[in-house]
Amino acid sequence: MPLAPLDETITITQLIDDPYPIYRRLRAEAPVMRVASVKRTLLTKADLTRAVKDNPLLFSSNDPNTPMRPALRAHTLMRKDGPEHMAERMAMMPAFSPKRIQTDWAPLYEQLAQDYIARLPRGEVVDLFATLCGPLAARILAHILGIPEATDAEMQRWSQRIIDGAGNFGWKPELFALSDEANDEMDALFDRLAPQRIADADGTAYSVMLTAANPIPMSQIYANLKIAIGGGINEPRDALATVLFGLLDNPDQLAEVRAQEAWGKAFEEAIRWVAPIQVSSRLVTEDTELGGFDIPKGETVMTVQASANRDEDLYENGEEFFVFRDKNPHQAFGNGPHHCAGAHIARRTVGKIILPMLFDRFPDMRLVDRDLVAWKGFGFRGPINLPVILN
């Protein structure tokens, strides 16, 4: 079989600015395409992305030589497979279960959402991305992780620096200097809080990991917390901004969502439409084939769930935001062993708490101008501003 075709025209800048027309073309013309600028083989159809993630033996996450390692100063569970990944993941999972969220967290999250929403100014233009989506996501995460002593600004700064470091495939020293600084700050906070989280054990991720019968090594407890900080703020932030945009830009759908209280459906549609995590990489462990092409061992394939989520084989008008689709088997949370550990938290906080509260409080909220909303991102994507008027 031939190797997959090679594209030398697509640029990273194009992918950051607006990848969707490119993905649409790739789905139609070349669903398996080596893209020179990305140095990856892009997979843009839903069956391919799903098959790759369902097969961790052949398509491994275990790649210790990515910038994620220096960025977090650890080989983390995101880049492991098998029992090692499982042990580190399960150490943290009890804190993220729906039951724990309902019993331990829902009242606190409602209070937090209320507080942050109450602070928003009325009758003037306010950027919900900066004033609500980011800070509230940071606050909720700080609590569930068991580090509420960290400020919203710290949480967001650490998260961004981890992400920038983990995506630093150009290996620029200045980006690692920034992530190093964040690591120092996080390590200091974790050191300081550990005795208390052991003495007053609770359902937070940090406490659960520290007080487990067979705890994972301290280095991996820290790594887990950092992965959660890196992966647990931008995604709910971007999901919230995206669903708000989708609803405000489609008043008819908003009215229907309100009537049916279909906030959860709206959330699912938003993350299908613009998945906060757009792509993932997997290392090929044996010579294999995908979509009729040879894929040699050692290559890195990139599953483009952003594209899978608009695949014409699964969705009619997939490019459109439409809450009331018959089926929505999106891959925004991924699949396989690395399925998003925060899926339940995101669904419950954004879909069940924040959205209904916000529209209840501001029934006449409107976008200032849809064209003022800027979208950005290749690996992670969402609006980078959301100017609205609240009444």
Binding site: G334, N335, H339, R347
Partner: protein
């Protein structure tokens, strides 16, 4: 082929003839049975394929597998002694006619 009967929380009954070896989760997905999400694809990582095995069948579907118990803790609906992750129930000849009930919520 073996028959699997899914009974949704609202009582809707769906009968499927499915090949042996497939999991109860995959058969549901392949046949658009409402009430099973199976988001992680059978990796036992999401607890969105939770089902209740009808008591008469519980002996034949076997014990929960290693790790399943922990993951069931993450199920959205009530977990009972008959709760299983349907991705961990492979269909065999002995399960011809299997009845599973589906919970109200998976996510």
């Amino acid at each position: 082929m073996v028959k699997v009967i899914y009974i949704a929380a609202d009582g809707t009954r769906t009968e499927i003839d499915a090949p042996e070896g497939e999991s109860v989760m995959r058969v549901a997905l392949a046949n658009d049975v409402e009430g099973i999400v199976g988001e992680c694809g059978g990796a036992m990582m999401c607890a969105t394929c939770h089902c209740y095995v009808e008591p008469d069948w519980a002996g034949r579907t076997g014990e929960r597998v290693s790790g399943e118990e922990d993951m069931l803790e993450g199920a959205a609906s009530e977990v009972t002694q008959y709760s299983r992750l349907s991705c961990q129930i492979p269909l065999t000849g002995a399960l011809d006619g299997l009845v599973v009930r589906l919970p109200e919520d998976q996510i």
